[in-house]
Structures are given as C-alpha cells and as structure tokens.
C-alpha cells in the first residue's frame, strides 16, 4: 500500500504540493512570514520563531520516531562536517538577519504580498548557482574538514532512541516554559 503510494510519481508531486500548502498556511498563520517577527526573534525580543520551531520539533520527533518504530518510515539524515555545517550555517545566519526571512518563510512572504521577499528569492537563486559553481573547489577541501557523517544524538551518546526522545522533549519543553515565564 505505502510502497504503491510512494512510487506513484505524479501522486508524489501532488503530495509534495499539498504538504507545501499546509506548511505555507501554517507559517503565515504563525506570523513568521513577517520580517518584523523574524528580526524580533534575532534581536531576542519576540520568541515566536523559537516557540514554533521547538513545538514542531517535539511533536514531529515523537511522531516520526513512532512511525520508524512501526516500520512505516525511515529516517532521512543529512551528513555534515565542521567545514560544511559550521561555515555554511554562519553564512546562512548572516543572510537570515540581512533578509529577515528564511528560505521557506520568504516564499510565504511573497504569497502574502511582501515584494521585498521576491528580491530575496532572486538573490537566493543566484546564491545557489554561485555555490554550485564553487562546489568542485569546496568539496575536496573545506567541506571535508571535521567530517562527522550522519551521526544522530542516540548514536553519539551510545543509547537507544526513546530515552533521547524523552530527554530532548523534556529539555525543549522546559525552554518553552522558561520563555513563557520570562514573558518573551
């Protein structure tokens, strides 16, 4: 059943579209397609972005690991290295603050009529092309520094998945309560 659904090419494209519609709808409803909300988060004045992300992580973490345990899904892990994750992450962070949207929320911002996000999208297309051109020079050098592969937190600490799910869930829940308590 699942295999049939997953191998149906047009059905999968339609599924991607519908999941995207849900994602865009929720991002706009949460207010994170607004420049002010993103900048407010980066200035540590408005914690809407963190609240949405952490709640999504806790909910999704429990659900996706349950699906995996039931044999209904497999994890899709990105590999990383210090040279790619840290350097790329910091470049991303600078762009995040200059633009005031992230790659997903800027598409949502265009949908609600924010014209500046359209220029962000154009810039991002240029940026990915620049990276693609630079990739051969980067892949054998800086991207290899400090390679840690696809390691997960349970593998890193040599424990099984569910205790980590519980600890991470409790920590993120505590952060959310602390943020709420601080009135942010």
């Amino acid at each position: 059943m699942l295999a049939t659904v997953r191998s149906h090419k047009k059905g999968q494209l339609a599924a991607g579209l519908l999941i995207g519609v849900g994602f865009g709808f929720l991002l706009q409803r949460g207010g994170v397609t607004r420049y002010e909300v993103v900048i407010g988060q980066l200035l540590l004045q408005d914690f809407t972005v963190v609240k949405i992300m952490l709640t999504a992580i806790v909910t999704g973490m429990i659900g996706v690991h349950a699906l995996c345990a039931a044999g209904l899904a497999t994890l899709s892990k990105k590999s990383g290295s210090v040279g790619s994750t840290v350097v790329g992450g910091l470049i991303f962070g600078v762009g995040f603050a200059v633009l005031g949207y992230c790659p997903g929320t800027m598409i949502g911002a265009v949908g609600q009529g924010s014209l500046d996000a359209l220029f962000g999208m154009a810039g991002m297309l240029v940026g990915t092309a620049v990276y693609a051109a630079a990739y051969p020079a980067l892949s054998g050098t800086i991207l290899k520094i400090g390679d840690f592969g696809q390691v997960t937190l349970p593998e890193l600490f040599r424990v099984s998945v569910w205790p980590v799910v519980c600890v991470v869930g409790a920590c993120l829940g505590a952060i959310l309560i602390a943020v709420e308590y601080a009135g942010l």
Binding site: L13, A14, G16, L17, I19, F23, G24, Q28, R29, G30, I39, L42, L43, K51, M53, L54, T55, A56, V58, T59, G60, M61, I62, G63, V64, L72, S76, K77, G80, G89, I91, F92, G93, G95, A97, L99, P103, G104, M106, I107, Q112, L115, D116, F119, G120, A122, G123, M124, L125, G127, T128, A129, V130, Y131, A132, P136, F148, T152, L153, V165
Partner: protein
C-alpha cells in the same frame, strides 16, 4: 536519453499552467496596489494563531510527509533545482555536467512542488484572514533605514545570495536542518541550527 527527453517535456507541460498562474498573481498584486490599502483595516486584525498550535501542526505535517512520501520537509533544495533549470536555459546542457547539479537534479521534483505549495498556502492563509496586502518594504525596515524601497530590495537580494550560498554549503536551511533534521535527532542538524542563530543574532544586533 529517453528519460531526459521525457523529463524535459514534463517540465515544459508544467510551465504551460505555471507561467499563467504567476502572471495572474502578479496582475492581482498590481490591481491591489493600484486600489490602495484594504478598505476595512479593523477586519484584518485577526492576528496570528498561537505559536504552539502552529508548531504542533508543522510537527504533524512532518509526520504526514514521512508517512506518505518518506521524506522530510525541506525548502532550500527547490532553489537549487530552480537555479539549475534557469542555468540550463542560459548555458544549455553544460549545467547537467556540473558536479553539483549531478547530485541535485535541476527538475520539477517533490521539493519544488513543496515550495510551490508554500507560496499557495501562505497566499490562501493571508487571503482568508485579511492579511493580503502588497508591501514594498516592511514597516520595521522603513522605520530604521528609511522609506526607499530600492535600498530594501537591494539588501533583500544580498541577504538572499548569502542564504543561497549558506543553505547549500550547510546542506539545508531552517526547515531541512532546523525542523526536519533536529526532529530526527541528527547531531549535525542541531549544530547547523545553532550556527544559523549565532550568525543571525550577531548580525541582527549589528544592524539594529
């Protein structure tokens, strides 16, 4: 070879309805801008939903995505697919020989449809809740850096270039690493999202 041809005509058939759709949207935007601000601002004060409701919804959506497509939600790949397709229009099949575009195929794939869906979903939400309005520059930017739209657009494009380079360099963005990677407990994704916010917070404090 046959595969490549089929994929080519496939993306052209998408373009047949996608391009008119974009034109209609653009036409609507111009018409709205010409008509001035929304007539009843009081009706558009519905405000956002609780971030906890929205977060739960995104978490559930991630589960649905894994169940139906066995894929995590991630947006930045679609930009690479699109820049590759645009590149193919400009320099032809040279694009397909570039090592990066061999790994990330420039085609209308699942991620691309997801990104299109984000556009439609946000538009739907804004339309339903009276938040649809054409805005050249965000009010906070105008208050800090002045009303010149061109300055904001230039900064937005520059920020976008950095997001494009950074997201591909790090292998994901705020959705692919920040939500999907972290919820799978991938160590590198937690490191990536920490770097996103370290870079972002430092830059925001420098700017404001």
């Amino acid at each position: 070879m046959g595969d490549r041809d089929r994929a080519g005509s496939h993306s052209r058939s998408w373009a047949v309805w996608f391009v008119p759709a974009v034109l209609v949207l653009a036409g609507w935007a111009v018409a709205r801008a010409a008509a001035g601000p929304a007539p009843d601002p009081a009706a558009s004060q519905a405000g956002p939903w609780s971030p906890y409701v929205v977060g739960c919804g995104i978490g559930i959506l991630s589960c649905i995505s894994f169940l139906i497509s066995n894929r995590p939600i991630g947006v930045s790949t679609a930009y690479a697919q699109t820049s590759g397709m645009i590149g193919r229009l400009v320099v032809g099949s040279r694009v397909d020989r570039m090592p990066y575009y061999r790994a990330v195929k420039p085609e209308i794939g699942w991620e691309w449809m997801l990104a299109l869906g984000v556009l439609l979903g946000a538009w739907l939400s804004a339309a339903l809740f009276g938040e649809l309005r054409v805005e050249a520059a965000p009010p906070l930017w105008v208050a800090e850096f002045g009303p010149a739209a061109a300055r904001r657009w230039l900064a937005a494009a520059a920020g976008g270039v950095l997001l494009g380079v950074g997201s591909r360099w790090a292998g994901g963005c705020t959705s692919g690493h920040g939500i999907s990677g972290t919820l799978q407990l991938v160590a590198g994704s937690w490191l990536a999202v920490a770097c996103f916010f370290v870079g972002g917070v430092a830059t925001a404090f420098l700017l404001y």
